[in-house]
Amino acid sequence: MSKQLFYLSFFLYFGFLSCNSSKVITGEVNYLNATEAGTLLVSAAGYGQSKPDAIANAQTNAFNNLIFRGIPGSQYQLPMVQDESKARKEHGKYFSNLLEQGGYKPFMMLSEEQTGYSVSRKGQKNITVMVKINVDALRRDMEQKGVVRKFGL
C-alpha cells in the first residue's frame, strides 16, 4: 500500500512539474498583419511535452515578444515595456498572472494552428500558431494596473 502511495505521489509530483514545461521563451514570433486598428496578427512557435502545452507556449511567446521585445515590421516595433527586468521586479504578480497563468487569454482574439505538432529541427516537439492580439485592450489593462505609464509625461 505504502509503495503504491509512493508511486502515486511520485507520478503526481512530476506530473505537476511538467505543467510548467511551457516556459520556453523564444523570439520565434513573426508579424503577419494588422487589418483592424488596435489589433495584431502574428505567427508564434511554441514548444512543449504535449500539444496543448506547445500551443500555450506559442501564445505566451506572442504576448511576451509584444510586451518585452516589440514586433518588427508592425506598428508595435517598440516594446510596450521598455525595461523588462525592472517591470518584472516591480510588477511580478501581474506578469506571472498574464504570461504564466493564462491571464493573456482575454486579450487573445484568435488562436489557430498553422502547422502540425511535430519534432522541429531543434529536436524538440513544437507547433506554430497564428495569434491575434487585442493590443489596445492589453495596453489599457496595463495602464489601469499601473504596469505601464499612460501616454504623456
Binding site: N97, L98, K150
Partner: protein
C-alpha cells in the same frame, strides 16, 4: 453561560491546514514534497489575481494637431481646400484621443483669431506661431498628406512630426504610406496610411516623454545688464566676496533639474547658459513652465538686492539686471 459562536473562517481553515501539514511532516516526507509543491502552486495562482491598480498623479500635456503649410501658404485655405489633409489631421487626433488624450482643436483656435490676419499672406508664419501660443498647447503635431498617382495604383504618403512648443525640439517623426490601390478614394487611403503609423508614432513620442521626465525639459538662459546698471559679472556680492557670476552658478546648481546646466560662457557683461534642464512638474504636480523658473530667479535676485526684468520666449529666458 454564553459562548460566542461566531468564528473566523480564515483562522479555522488556517489551523486545519497547519494541523494537516504537521501530520504530513511527521509521517510522510514524500507527501510533504508533493503538498508543498501544490501549496506553492496555489500561492502562485492567488498572487496573480491580487494585482491592485496603482494610482499615480499625472499631468497630461496638451497637444494640437496642425496641418503642415509652406511659408507662403495660408493655413486656413490649405486645410479647407484639402480633404486628405483634413482626414489626416482628424485621424491623428483620433489616435491621441484613443490614448486618453484631449487635443486642442486647431480649426476652433484658428477661428478665434482675427479673420483679417488669417487672410494676410505676409502674416502666415506668425499666424502659425500665434495659433500655437493662443492654444496653450505644450506639443504640436504637424501633419502632411501627399497623394501619389502611379500606373500601378494610387497611394497616400502621410508625414507627422511632433514638436515641443516651448523649445521647438522635435519629439517624433514618422512617414507612413498607404497600400497602393486602383482608386481615387484618397480619403480612405489617408485613413489607412495614418492607421499604419500612429501607434509607432505615439510610442516614439512616449519614449521622448520618458526621457524628458528622466532628464528634464531643455531651456536656455541669458543674463545681461541694462545700460545704466552699475553692476557687472565681476561685482562682488555681499560679505562673502563672491563674484556675481559665481553666485549665479551656485544658484543654477541648486535650481536646475538634477543640477544640469551648461555654461556656454561668461564675460563681464553677460552670462550665457545655452542649455539647462527644468523639471516638468513642480512639487504639486503642476506643469513647471520656464516662466516659473524666471520668476524664481528674479525673486532670488531681489534677496541679494538686485532689481531685474525678465523676458521669456518659449524656452528661452532673458534676465536683464538694472
Amino acid at each position: 453561560m454564553h459562548f460566542d459562536v461566531t468564528w473566523n473562517k480564515k483562522v479555522w481553515f488556517g489551523n486545519l491546514a497547519y494541523n494537516h501539514l504537521f501530520n504530513i511532516m511527521k509521517f510522510k516526507p514524500l507527501s510533504l514534497l508533493l503538498a508543498s509543491s501544490l501549496l506553492l502552486g496555489e500561492i502562485g495562482l492567488s498572487q496573480g489575481s491580487a494585482t491592485e491598480p496603482i494610482k499615480t498623479k499625472k499631468v497630461q500635456p496638451t497637444i494640437m494637431v496642425i496641418p503642415f503649410v509652406q511659408e507662403s501658404q495660408d493655413m486656413r485655405n490649405v486645410l479647407e481646400s484639402d480633404i486628405n489633409l483634413r482626414v489626416a489631421v482628424t485621424k491623428v487626433k483620433e489616435g491621441f484621443d484613443k490614448r486618453g488624450f484631449s487635443t486642442v482643436d486647431f480649426r476652433g483656435k484658428l477661428k478665434q483669431l482675427n479673420n483679417d490676419k488669417a487672410m494676410e499672406l505676409e502674416n502666415q508664419t506668425s499666424l502659425k506661431q500665434e495659433v500655437i501660443e493662443q492654444s496653450g498647447a505644450d506639443i504640436y503635431v504637424e501633419t502632411e498628406a501627399k497623394p501619389i498617382k502611379t500606373g500601378s495604383g494610387n497611394s497616400i504618403t502621410v508625414i507627422v512630426t511632433a514638436y515641443d512648443a516651448y523649445s521647438g525640439l522635435s519629439l517624433a517623426n514618422k512617414v507612413g504610406n498607404s497600400p497602393k490601390f486602383y482608386t481615387d478614394n484618397y480619403e480612405k487611403l489617408t485613413e489607412k496610411a495614418v492607421e499604419g503609423l500612429i501607434e509607432d508614432f505615439l510610442n516614439t513620442m512616449q519614449l521622448k516623454f520618458d526621457e524628458m521626465v528622466e532628464n528634464g525639459r531643455i531651456a536656455s538662459l541669458n543674463i545681461t545688464f541694462s545700460e545704466g546698471s552699475s553692476m557687472d559679472m565681476d561685482t562682488e556680492i555681499g560679505e562673502t566676496g563672491k563674484l556675481f557670476s559665481e553666485v549665479m552658478e551656485e544658484w543654477l546648481e541648486k535650481n536646475t533639474y538634477k543640477s544640469y546646466f551648461h555654461l556656454q560662457g561668461t564675460t563681464a557683461t553677460k552670462l550665457i547658459v545655452d542649455e539647462l534642464r527644468l523639471p516638468f512638474q513642480d512639487e504639486e504636480g503642476k506643469t513647471y513652465r520656464p516662466t516659473k523658473f524666471a520668476a524664481s530667479l528674479r525673486n532670488y535676485l531681489k534677496t541679494i538686492g538686485l532689481e531685474s526684468e525678465r523676458d521669456v520666449q518659449g524656452s528661452k529666458i532673458f534676465i536683464t539686471i538694472n
